[in-house]
């Protein structure tokens, strides 16, 4: 006979137990020290680092859900941008631009798993239009660094909420990238003229 509790736990009042297994109170699970802010602002590890995304979604041969596809493509994209930054730092602008062009070519692929969230989609979409609006002009070192950093954040948190994603898009804009489609910019200009 077993003493396994397979019914859904009864909501009886009980003290908060520091060690419990999922759903039912049996033998203990060590509760980690939590160092992440829980409300408002952005969530950043302060005492104990957040789990690495690759530990949360370990790669498997059996399946390739959107999140794993995105993580793989983002890792490649970040590597390209790192190479571009290194080349740019060494004043090898041709090589830097070559890596950036390869990154730009990877953007449609990055857009494919956009089903993982609106936040993910809006960042990739903004980068797509940013490169179109650059019209072949190479990115500055600061712009490269911003794009690289935003992508690293996105890879660590691909299920970023839309509102937080807009903050990242704002950072791209602040670096001097134009992230809106040209038609939208013209429409906005027209609206501004009418207001005046």
């Amino acid at each position: 006979m077993t003493d396994t509790i397979i019914a859904f736990p009864k909501p009886t009042a009980r003290p908060s137990l520091p060690v419990r297994e999922t759903g039912v109170a049996l033998r203990g699970t060590t509760q980690p020290v939590v160092g992440l802010p829980m409300g408002g602002g952005s969530a950043r590890a302060t005492v104990q680092s957040a789990i690495p995304i690759d530990a949360l979604y370990p790669a498997t041969k059996e399946s390739a859900p959107d999140v794993l596809i995105a993580l793989g493509l983002l890792a490649d994209a970040i590597a390209l941008l790192e190479e571009a930054r290194t080349a740019s730092k060494a004043r090898d602008m041709v090589m830097a631009d070559r890596y950036v062009q390869r990154f730009q070519a990877a953007l449609p692929g990055l857009f494919t798993p956009r089903g993982i969230g609106d936040g993910y989609g809006v960042i990739i979409n903004s980068l797509h239009f940013a490169f179109i609006n650059q019209r072949g002009k190479p990115l500055s070192f600061d712009q490269l660094t911003t794009v690289w950093r935003v992508l690293r954040e996105l890879r660590n948190g691909p299920f970023v909420q839309f509102e937080q994603a807009l903050d990242y898009v704002g950072e791209l804009e602040t670096s001097g990238l134009q992230i809106d489609p040209e038609a939208i910019s013209e429409l906005l200009d027209d609206t501004d003229d009418e207001d005046e």
Partner: protein, 235 residues
Amino acid sequence: MTSSLSVSDFKTLMAVCEVRYENAYLIYDRTGLICNDLRTLFTGLTVVIAAPNQTTLQADEGSFALELAQCRFGSQKPDSQLETFATHGKRFFDSVLYNLDIKAFSRVGLRVFFRKEYQSLDEAKAAFASLKLVNVTPTVRFGAASEPHEVGLRWQGSQIGTTLRLTAESGTIDVHLPPELQPEKPDIHKSISGLLLDIDYYTVAPVERSQWDAFAWITHSIKTMKKGADSLFGN
């Protein structure tokens, strides 16, 4: 008997997904909002118990618990790949996390119970022994039995942990119907013997909300759990 057991031989009995977080005091303001959300997302939703710190709800799709520092979704009829379970879980967790403004989790866990039925308890014990998960000399210990019929194991690193419990068990179902319902066959008795596999897969390191999506994590984690258990069974 050979140890050719695989998790795919087991029937998925029950699944529970739970997230824990620091006290979310917005629960005092927004529990009703969440219940209202859930009513539009699930069928036959009823509030079983409502207390300031703890609300339990039941729907056709499963059970929900909302507490100050944790919430969970459970189903006693989950699909084997947990895709439907994960779809329902995502709806629930998205509503709770949004309404309680939760940005990070101290622990995320998925616990799944599987059972493989056998004709008798002896047969179940033989299947258990064939896995050779316990390496002790068969002799009567504690005056109880010569061989154990349950094993519990835990693997825990700095990021992920798993507990696995395997039990050879038997039980009976006794239903006594009132005479007016079944005058010719008033009682139902059924004996069930089998192996119960209980796996709890959880995070140890904190998880940011932007890292976690219920559907993606549950459907991915069940594969990891099955693969790990199969590997333990020697497949």
